[in-house]
Symmetry: C2
Subunit: 406 residues, 2 copies
């Protein structure tokens, strides 16, 4: 067996992971599938919105000057000459002294220059009594008021909101070019692993990494394909070497033991850039590249696997997906309710609980304890240069669940 | 035509919308589908984790006392009597003076009480030279160290994180009981509406509400089914009255014009609780109930539709989905860079842009302008009792996109 000769600083390992990772190319998706996706290229409108003069209220299309002087005490009568409904062809003209019943969204006829709202009128026997004057242009959207032909409506890289999808629909922009989801092959290995959904028994344990990693990949805009292999050189060789993945994430067999063949196989199939990182947990993490695809070699221990994913795999996948590379966690600054001890020379990922009294470091007996990341509200990253933080120090906490009130 | 006789305060309309809305019952889903879902009932573990004494490092299982006094200058030799790999049956015993090569995750034999890490040993010719002492219990996880049988691991109502899915897998808890997604029927009506994906032409416009609403419903944990109907009484009657929806959301035909039949039909099929809300935009909003299902009657104007959805439909859907009812937007408090004018007696939904200089109210010519909610960073809600805010006042901005740096 070999120990790690040298552990690489976290920043250096992150740089190695991100080197060469670029936003992926575009795919075209239908409008109903593009919310939350990242736009490729800017979008300009090919149409005016609205494309015709449009009533914004229910009421009566009028010539504004016909209403001047009207009041509740001296209403002015106008002859109703028809009706304009949404989707109909606008009436050709409107003569002085007449009005057209009109609905919100309906086209306003050419000679009308205002819409009198229903509340300011009383209709009886083919006549509408105008009880208030209406100004020119009132309650009428002009052509292109919302968007004119050629207007840039979205910049490249925008993550599409629900209202953005509505806007794209309204200008007839479909399908939509969005960043392709990175295809992430998640390889877990271990003869002791049962499939998720099985019941642990004897010395066999259930693979908890692949469902966790699949959910993380999904969160970060990727599409996960899980491959579970036995501790077998050929099986791992095939899983690592097969084409079709934009990113490869492995969990397990990452360290320097006799069965830890992943780093060696990555070196054989491509290049191993980093092996061993100055952090805790997750020090047996590696970074490599096979046929241009970043390979993130994560420890099999579930907590280490989560932490190494968040430090090294997440930023790569998010960059490829066109998303921000920063932590995908809401962060808050709060005072420590107790001392947070760390070791100089390595980055520490301290799990904490947060309440109104402040930030409480969790007592954790070992890195293996997955419940430490389910009981924790979030984590504090202690840089390699610090021995920790004193009680009362303000620290930045990254919260696992943005919705949890603190 | 009728005007609104009376507009109901926003809070009253929200109460009417939420009255009777309760978290839905459970459905059972596989582990790979439960991330982000809301747990029904608490989860207790039926197993110990780990279920056996487990090595947490690569190295050698030893009797700790055999290593006492070892140092780099006077290493102590132990005879290697075998190997323990993950998933294997643990060796029965370990005699004094011997060691077992062991990998992380492998079972520790009964008589061993520590694991010496590989870095502190040198192996040659069937012997391992111990270069540092190891304390009793070191690098060994005890049975149930992470979770003991009967431990409550998650409380009812938890929104499952990626690591939670891993934990559920590790204790063999599958399938998982989660809150059923509310089935939300989205009904859009209008003879002028083309289907999303079509190109607007003449006086026909493209339905931008249904793709926007479907994305909003999805965001809020619901499953949307879109029904597009013409302005036809029977079609709308059928769309509203058919069973199978937990919530009904309509867009369009919501006001008091001749073609605005949705409120009347809701009253006919069930009850119309609210029609007309003291807010801007979105005043022609209604709230009703058909066969126990909340019905949210949203204006057809896309901006009004978005705003009314967020005020009235979103909280109902999130409550039914087991999610928090609050705004699903990150909020920040910042000073206004200009005056924000509002009208007393109604709630105003002011679209704003946020930058380092503060909060800028957007100049908006009409509610119809969907680009006002795609150009905006978010919105400020001005309560009915205020005439707005002065320049420099601190206001709470709800941000549409939590990722956008400000």
């Amino acid at each position: 067996m070999r120990g790690f000769q040298h552990r690489v600083p976290v920043e250096e390992a992150q740089e190695a992971a991100l080197a060469g990772a670029v936003r992926l190319d575009a795919e075209r998706v239908a409008l109903d599938a593009c919310a939350g996706r990242v736009l490729v290229g800017e979008v300009s409108s090919a149409v005016d919105v609205p494309p015709f003069r449009r009533a914004t209220m229910d009421g009566y299309a009028v010539r504004a000057e016909d209403t001047f002087g009207a009041s509740a005490y001296s209403p002015l009568p106008l002859a109703i000459v028809g009706e304009s409904l949404p989707g109909t062809v606008p009436a050709a003209a409107l003569e002085t002294g007449s009005a057209l019943r009109i609905m919100t969204g309906a086209p306003v006829p050419d000679d009308a220059d205002a819409v009198l709202r229903a509340e300011d009128a009383t209709e009886r026997a083919g006549t509408v009594e105008v009880r208030a004057p209406v100004a020119v242009g009132k309650n009428v959207s002009r052509i292109g008021e919302d968007i004119e032909i050629g207007d840039r409506v979205f910049a490249d890289g925008r993550r599409l909101l629900p209202q953005d999808v509505g806007l794209l629909a309204s200008i007839g922009h479909s399908p939509v070019a969005v960043v392709r989801r990175p295809a992430v092959r998640v390889i877990v290995s271990g003869d002791e692993l049962l499939a998720p959904g099985d019941t642990p028994q004897g010395t066999s344990i259930v693979d908890s990494n692949s469902p966790m990693l699949a959910a993380l990949v999904e969160r970060d805009g990727g599409a996960a394909e899980v491959v579970r292999v036995r501790d077998d050189r050929d099986a791992m060789f095939t899983a690592l070497g097969s084409p079709g993945a934009d990113v490869i994430v492995t969990a397990g067999a990452a360290s320097v033991g006799t069965e830890d063949r992943v780093p060696l196989l990555v070196a054989e199939l491509g290049e191993l850039l980093v092996h061993g990182v100055a952090m805790r947990p997750s020090s047996p993490t590696g970074v490599g590249r096979i046929a241009g695809a970043p390979v993130l070699i994560l420890p099999g221990n579930p907590v280490s696997c989560l932490v190494a994913y968040d430090f090294f795999a997440g930023p790569v996948i998010r960059r490829m997906a066109g998303l921000p590379e920063d932590w995908p966690y809401r962060s808050v600054r709060m005072p420590l309710a107790g001392r947070l001890v760390s070791q100089i020379g390595r980055v520490d990922y301290a799990r904490v609980r947060v309440d109104s009294a402040g930030v409480h470091p969790l007592a954790i007996s070992g890195a293996s304890v997955l419940s430490s990341v389910t009981r924790a509200s979030g984590f504090v990253v202690v840089p390699a240069g610090l021995e920790g933080y004193a009680e009362g120090a303000d620290v930045e906490v990254h919260l696992y669940d943005a919705d949890v009130p603190i």
